[in-house]
């Protein structure tokens, strides 16, 4: 019954810089299964999939499709062989309609001209066949991320894909969209398609997948039926040791108030809706205040307001007694603010800059790093080397462009900068999103360490386990408002949290007000 539809045998891929990305990797998938491919960043998953999709050429090994060897030299061959890939960065043209994107490269014609009618027809037929709901005439730029992803999947299906590769598809989705996606993927599986699901999120793997292949350091560690393994088993296999899923931390000893947000209201840029609706909270030294909630419920706006990146709000925000509205971001930083942005690539780093330059980007102007009119490069080199060591940044050296690093190591550079600026308030927005388990654990432990040294931490995270483990007290945001406040984060259950997140329950204003009490 389990027919092997595709197998990759003894794949070895050595990059031109000598990095062995895949070493004798064996990987096979069956017809009609959802197969998880998991592993830390840099474990070789992406390379393996690039080989399968014809983006990279393997140095050794071969690929068998239905038992016959095929040579996938480029993505076109892959598509023709029925292999489709949904990239993390969508391959869609924003200003074109859904139908136009769907038929791009195989445009239907009528009298030599492009036939929009037929394009719409093709799209709608495919949507019906695979139980997707799409509006063929909508423009891509008007669609939500979740919808765009559906279009991507459908695009592969229209081109005859029987094997779908999904590269961390849920990283960009809300929990509801994730649920929807899972239903659709299960539908596809039941129709005999094969789905290769790459993910960092083990709970999703156990929920969705039939079998799992774990990769570590360029090799496959094993294939198993998902129902026979536990999450901690998988996690141990992935990183080769036990992850401490429970962060060890002592009780918080809250001190002075470092962040005071009073009655902040902000209108949404795109609609008449209030993105933030009368938010009040405060963070004290020595505590971690977590903000849980489905993404897009005001967390981004709140963190941008607090960190001075967006000053168009009503109400007041004070960092260590300084009003952020009338001060520049540099002034706020000098007043003790540190900020880990959720958008690492845009706000966290300068991609073309070296690791060293990124590390000193918040302090290069300080007298400490100057020698006359010039930068004191010796001192800067020393600092960079020290931080690379202390934060365990895996790189070729301090002069390596930061964009060459993996996501986890990039974030470690950001953290190395933000956690060593001597700040009293750390705004950490999705600090571990999209990075591997090892780096995540490292960053989480650092946050607790800084708290113990007396910094106040505002932690915004869509990862429920993360906020629940790290936070001393916890807020749930829903629809731009604070839906709940728990003074003791340890005493909250996931179920309870979920109900507040989805707006099923809301606490009384009295209880919520306690988060802003300046006792």
């Amino acid at each position: 019954m389990d027919t092997v539809v595709l197998s990759m045998e003894n794949i070895t891929k050595v990059y031109s810089n000598g990095f062995v990305a895949n070493k004798n990797v064996n990987f096979s998938v069956n017809e009609g299964e959802i197969h998880a491919l998991v592993g830390e960043n840099g474990a070789g998953k992406s390379t393996l999939m690039k080989v399968l999709f014809g983006v990279e050429k393997p140095d050794e090994g071969h690929i068998l499709l239905h038992g016959k060897e095929i040579h996938i030299d480029n993505p076109i061959v892959a598509i023709k062989s029925g292999i489709g890939m949904v990239h993390q960065h969508f391959m869609l043209v924003p200003s074109l309609t859904v139908a136009e994107n769907m038929v791009l490269g195989m445009e239907p014609k009528k009298k030599g001209l492009f036939s929009m009618e037929q394009a719409v027809k093709i799209t709608e037929e495919a949507a019906t066949k695979f139980h997707f709901q799409v509006d063929a005439t909508a423009r891509i730029e008007d669609l939500s991320v979740g919808k765009k992803q559906k279009i991507e999947i459908l695009k592969a299906l229209v081109r005859g894909a029987r094997i779908l590769i999904l590269d961390e598809p849920t990283a960009v989705l809300t929990p509801q969209e994730t649920k929807e996606l899972f239903v659709e993927l299960k539908n596809l599986r039941d129709e005999g398609l094969t789905v290769i699901f790459i993910s960092h999120k083990l709970n999703e793997v156990t929920e969705l997948c039939d079998r799992i292949t774990v990769m570590r350091a360029g090799r496959t560690i094993g294939v198993q039926e998902v129902r026979n393994v536990s999450e901690s088993d998988i996690s141990r296999k992935m990183i080769g040791r036990d992850v401490q899923l429970n962060i060890q931390k002592s009780r918080a000893k809250p001190g002075d108030i470092v962040l005071n947000v009073k009655n902040v209201t902000k209108y949404s840029r795109t609609s008449a809706k209030k993105a933030l609706d009368g938010i009040s909270l405060r963070v004290r030294r020595g505590e971690i205040l977590g903000i849980a909630g489905v993404e897009g419920n005001g967390q981004t706006e709140l963190s941008e307001s607090i960190t001075g990146m967006d000053k168009e709000f009503e109400g007041s925000i004070q960092i260590g007694g300084m009003d952020v509205k009338n001060h520049s971001i540099r002034q706020a930083r000098e007043h003790g603010l540190a900020h880990i942005s959720e958008d690492r690539i845009t706000y966290g780093i300068v991609g073309d800059g070296s690791i060293e330059e990124n590390i000193i980007s918040d302090r290069y102007y300080k007298p400490d790093f100057q020698k006359g009119p010039l930068l004191d490069l010796r001192k800067i080199d020393k600092l960079a080397d020290e931080l690379i060591g202390r934060f365990d940044i895996k790189c070729d050296g301090r002069d390596q462009p930061i964009k060459m690093l993996s996501g986890g190591n990039m974030q470690k550079v950001v953290v190395a900068r933000e956690f060593t600026s001597g700040s009293s308030l750390i705004v950490a927005n999705q600090p571990t999103r999209g990075i591997d388990v090892g780096a995540s654990e490292f960053i989480r432990n650092k946050l607790v360490e800084l708290r113990d040294q007396g910094a106040g931490v505002l932690l915004i995270s869509a990862d429920l386990n993360e906020v629940m483990e790290l936070s001393d007290s916890l807020i749930v945001m829903s629809d731009g408002k604070i839906a709940a406040y728990f003074e003791d984060a340890a005493a909250v259950s996931t179920d309870e949290l979920g109900e507040y997140m989805l707006g099923i329950r809301t606490m009384t204003p009295d209880k919520i007000r306690r988060v802003a009490d300046n006792d």
């Binding site: 993505p75 960065h89 924003p94 845009t346 706000y347």
Partner: protein
């Protein structure tokens, strides 16, 4: 004096001259539009038009055949664009620097060739080159005022207006246009479905070069009947501005080109009046600047600084 100017502007002759001077701008603007849609917008149109103007004159002079002259002009202009593609798409040279280099090359190269052929560094008047005829449109030519404005133009002027429609058709109604737009907006999306991005970009440059060359040929074989050193005089840049003002939409680009044509014609009229000619000659360029400023401030969103940065970062990063 004021009365003279006003009566000069509010006349059928003036409207006629607006259309006449708009023609090369329109050609160039449409070429820039196609290139912009295809993600290969560059600044080499000036050199492309100049080369086309020169090759057209030479081709027609030596063959005494208008069609051969046209082909020679097109080949010259398209050649410049293909060079652009080779440097930019194959050798990955910077698009601005390549554009400057090609413009300089065209400017010096045409003078050099002119000197060899005519022993003259300024004008080609010693060559017996041909020109495209003016045509009268039946019926319309008999309408009072309108006939004087719309009829009797050079045949290429009518081609330029036809091109507005053809470019619209190409960009929005053909499979190639869809590919050009896809490649221009998200090359990786296009290549992920098997579209050859480099080839599509070359095709786009070819089409852009073809249209801009028509404008160049018009300069020396219609607007004037000889080639003169640097005769394109910035029209290759004003065309880009018109395209920008028209937001890469054919009809709006047409209107923007007319606006710049108006400024150009105005400067021509005022030169005959008693006004310092240097100031008058600046009018088209000042109009270009004003147009671009007006355009930018009308499209600029309220948010500035960091928020703007965010918009420039492509989706998904």
């Amino acid at each position: 004096m004021n009365n003279n100017i006003l009566s000069a502007i509010f006349s059928a002759e003036f409207a006629y001259s607006v259309i006449r001077v708009t023609t090369p701008l329109l050609f160039c603007a449409l070429a820039a539009l196609v290139c912009n849609r295809g993600g290969v917008l560059n600044i080499a149109f000036e050199g492309c038009m100049l080369t086309a103007a020169f090759c057209g004159v030479v081709g027609s002079a030596y063959s005494q055949n208008l069609f051969v002259g046209l082909l020679a002009g097109l080949a010259g202009g398209i050649g410049i664009m293909m060079l652009m593609g080779y440097f930019n798409l194959i050798l990955n040279a910077n698009v601005v620097l390549t554009g400057i280099a090609l413009n300089t090359f065209a400017s010096g190269g045409t003078v050099f060739a002119l000197y060899i052929l005519c022993n003259d560094k300024g004008l080609s008047t010693s060559l017996q080159s041909l020109a495209f005829p003016n045509v009268n449109i039946p019926l319309i030519q008999d309408v009072p005022v309108l006939g004087k404005i719309l009829s009797g133009h050079n045949v290429l002027t009518y081609v330029s207006v036809l091109c507005v429609f053809l470019v619209y058709l190409l960009i929005f109604k053909t499979p190639l246009g869809l590919r050009i737009r896809a490649v221009g907006e998200n090359p990786s999306a296009a290549s992920s479905v098997g579209i050859n991005v480099t080839r599509t970009k070359f095709t786009t440059l070819f089409i852009g070069g073809l249209i801009a060359s028509l404008g160049g040929v018009y300069m020396s074989m219609g607007y004037l009947t000889w080639f003169g050193r640097d005769m394109v005089a910035g029209r290759g840049f004003i065309g880009i501005a018109a395209q920008n003002l028209g937001n890469a939409a054919p009809m709006a680009t047409f209107i923007a080109a007319l606006f710049f044509g108006f400024a150009n014609a105005l400067s021509n009229v005022l030169q005959t009046q008693n006004i310092p000619s240097e100031a008058v000659q600046a009018i088209p360029y000042v109009a270009t600047l004003i147009g671009l400023v007006a355009y930018s401030s009308s499209t600029r969103k309220k948010k500035t600084g960091i928020k703007q940065l965010k918009r420039r970062v492509p989706d998904g990063l």
